[in-house]
Amino acid sequence: MLSIRNLHARIGNRTILKGIDLEVRPGEVHAIMGPNGSGKSTLASVLAGRAGYEVTQGTVEYLGQDLLAMEPEERARAGVFLAFQYPVEIPGVNNAYLLKAALNAVRKQRGEPELDAFEFLALVRDKMKLMQMDESFLNRGVNEGFSGGEKKRNEILQMAVLEPKLALLDETDSGLDIDALRVVANGVNSLRGPERAIVMVTHYQRLLDYIEPDVVHVLSDGRILKSGDKSLALELEKRGYDWVRQEARVA
């Protein structure tokens, strides 16, 4: 589904990604862990198409297409979804408007008809129940005045509505209380399926108790140093990242 090969990217003249290789197949859940500033969000941003990054080497293939050649909205319509680490507040743009415009853009791409107001509302109500979000959020500006946890929940609500093929979750668990973590994990798990894949960036093994990953990667200084199964996350939790770096230096 997603093949990243030798990906190098920089901001200005600072190279952040220094050769990422990652293979994600349909149905898989990958977790990416790594120290602050190692390039996790940069990777997510490059995959989603944020401006300001220059890819200097490498390729990214998504469902047989050259992902890096696509505009951000083309990626979204093709089923790529990024849940932002820091969702942007957009006062004056209605949450419901965004959900509807986004859903109809994705549906159009899939060759499905636009939803009318009733069908849309029924669908969104359903997903909001799943996310245990009050309907009043629909009439607020996008993320406007949302608490940190509410913003994260809103990201997953959007994901649940859009049903992407490839979901990139950047620290969606950070800032969530214990109950909210369960709700968000529920939302993510509801999306799991043989045709979909999930790549989630996290600092905490706790999330992985709820969403079990097939593969865990350690990203450090712009490279994936080590990959393993979910026991790697447990080990990282106990021992930190230094030993992985040392191992990598020796190798």
Binding site: E73, A76, I90, G92, V93, L98
Partner: protein
Amino acid sequence: MNAAVANDALAPYGAAFEAVRATVGETAAAREQAFARFAELGFPAPRDEAWKYTSLRRLEARRFAFAGAGGAGPVDTPAVDALSSHRVTVVNGRVTDAALVRSAPLDGIRVRTLSQALEEGEPQGALLRVPTGGGTERFAALNAALSNDAVVIDVAASASVAEPLHVVIAAAGAEPTMIHPRLLIRAGAGSSARIVLHHVGTDSAEHFVNSYVDVEAAADAQLHLYRLQSQGARAFLIERIDATVGQRAAIVVHDAQLGASLSRLDLNARLAAPGAAAELTGLFLADDSRHLDAHVRVDHLAAGTRSLVDYRGIAAGRGRGVFNGKAVVHVDAQQSQARQTSRNLLLTPGAEIDTKPELEIYADDVQCSHGATTGQLDPAALFYLRSRGLDERQARSALTRAFAGAVLSRMDLASYSGAVHSILDARLERLLETTA
């Protein structure tokens, strides 16, 4: 040499005045004085602070026919959507629906022309007042000299009129024409009323509309003015609105500046008695090569007065916006509040908006704030929307509407905000097509 040039520019106005002089009867003396004031001030000099960002040289060089005493002959009235079923239409300075004017168009509101008011013994001093000061004094004086059918609108004391009165000021005809519409709006004590002030014109001719609006809100009156400036694309428009607000009275102005080639609005509110309030909000869209200049000034003259000024500007293409907001809190205006914000959005690199918030405070126990920002659409917000599947144009459109929305959402008159929205939407659509 300079004087000769100035005289040259003023000559056609002098000729126009000669043409009206004979027809204005008892107001001749007052008009003579007003014209003398205009001639004395002339057009603004190059370094006039009140005209720092707005040059009138193009206007000064144009020659206009005068829709004066003789009338302008048959003219096409531009089509106007009904913003209310109660309408007064002033075409090239003349009231066209005289029948409406004679009868009371709305329960509690009386509309007369200047001559009717004079016949009924109103003192001409109040009807043809010439304000002093400000960059547009010259034009207000010119208006007093040359205006023909001033429209006098009186809201009866204690009347509460829910239906808005729609006043259409139209510039019509194929020949470039100068027009001096004049309005006197008096809200009686304890009254409440809503008036739509709607400028329309043709896109084909370069008319010059020089409008003066004199507003008095007596004690406890609530007057809402909805201004929709959609003058023709080639027109020059200068308008001065002077509002004097009495004890515990409030004036609320909604302003949408969407038309004209060059427009200048001076909106002055004098909070003259304790507890007077003004809420002045507006939006301007300077696209193409439109030049829109708004000078908003609030004078706090008495204790416990409150003002809120919130203007938002959008510029694109070679468009140019100017916003000058000034609050003056005079020495007697203790415990007053003056808030002012100006936010501006540049949609394309060539566009420009100059903004200058000013605050002068002579009282010590007051709350004042002012702020101005000018920027582009937030790239992080644009990316966020695009990452959800909206194309760039949709994303830009949503963010631009959101920017305008903060002012639009205050427009509490459905027919008016509907009209503003539809003009704005069509223009933004076209804009984003050419800039995305």
